[in-house]
Symmetry: C2
Subunit: 269 residues, 2 copies
Amino acid sequence: MNRQALIQQILSKQSFLCIGLDTDITKIPQHLLKEKDPIFEFNKQIIDATHDLCVSYKLNTAFYESMGLKGWEAMQKTLEYIPKEQFTIADAKRGDIGNTSAMYAKAFFENMDFDSVTVAPYMGEDSVKPFLTFENKWVILLALTSNKGADDFQFFKQDEEFLFEKVLKTSKEWGNDEQLMYVVGATRPQMLEAIRKIVPSSFLLVPGVGAQGGSLAEVCKYGMNEDVGLLINSSRAIIYAGNDKNFVQKSRNEAEKIQKEMSILLSNK
Amino acid sequence: MNRQALIQQILSKQSFLCIGLDTDITKIPQHLLKEKDPIFEFNKQIIDATHDLCVSYKLNTAFYESMGLKGWEAMQKTLEYIPKEQFTIADAKRGDIGNTSAMYAKAFFENMDFDSVTVAPYMGEDSVKPFLTFENKWVILLALTSNKGADDFQFFKQDEEFLFEKVLKTSKEWGNDEQLMYVVGATRPQMLEAIRKIVPSSFLLVPGVGAQGGSLAEVCKYGMNEDVGLLINSSRAIIYAGNDKNFVQKSRNEAEKIQKEMSILLSNK
């Protein structure tokens, strides 16, 4: 998917919500366990109930890999089921030497047909570039993550520059805002101001709203740009909103609450 | 596998060789393509021909993921085929927020039964710790990698300390040398001296000998410790040594050449 199509979808749906399918067999409603593929069945029902309210689905690969072959199959089926207008994210946090990153790119962009994959920056340019050779495919590079452990290395500082700022600046030489996005956690909205000075036009994928405690209004205040430039992810707060036969309605209600807040934030822009 | 069993195996085989199964369907001998599972068949024959010469096999997950379900299945079958005395490595470069890293740990340590997994440090403590809760399982944390891109961020410097040194020092608080190893590339042997000052007793997984150009003697000179403390990986130089019906003999010859050099380096220690 290209940047223009993504922006169009955001404006027409008045939403920049990404729903994270961190689907855990121990957390889905009991009645689904009798299905042949409970993980896919859960995802299917969540997608059916929410796809008009969001612009993106993010599949957290760890949850699928934890179930081995069956999980990998559920991930593939889910990806194929997602409506084509949605921006799909393989939240895989991959990255390795060049010939190996090329294989990961093949896994997510060719063998499967994700629009984007999250990539860890530690190994530098040749670990990221192989993902950038695919037309209308995206790298979403980790910059400042939402977790406590982000403090351990991402704020390492050389000459008044934090490591995550160095990652943002350096990676701008590898690709442009039509192929590179960044992960920036909602749990540190005040850092978004500094980040926007480095990457004013790039899209940011923002996890941490909801279960992790970040504020949507704060993120928009500091992070929104002329093209919106934000995908706000919520996973657990939406997909596990209910746990009975009526779970999809509760998930829809949660997604709708966020979409309505987004609609107001967009009209105030 | 525990540390003592690994050291015992190294001393009895006079080898600290790890063979990397970066198995690529486009590079294996033609005659194997008619097999039902060519990737597994190739790995099986390589393992049969080399297991007395090495102490570890490393499966590069990217190569298996690139083939989707069939690839994931070949990875599982290969892991099950590897003799139990071998130290097995899922070279997966994973790492995410706590609940997600816990799922990756489940994927590699429970759903599959690898002895270890490579982990990227960028997201800090809570992205690594879930892997450290399994008995006799190991995290192999990226410190200084063998690729050119290592220069981009791993040498970022705060107060006379490089980022990779900060990673080594900080991670020592998360686990001990019975559960944590480090990836240190063979392409920078002179840095091993500084690294050994920080982690004198830890095992190091050293890629970059062979196809990437690192020297085994140099690595041992600066990196070997009292318990040997090294696993030297070679992938392409061994597994693609031949490309005809006789390929396993050529692979064995390559592995034997390295093992003999290791045997001499061990007796000179």
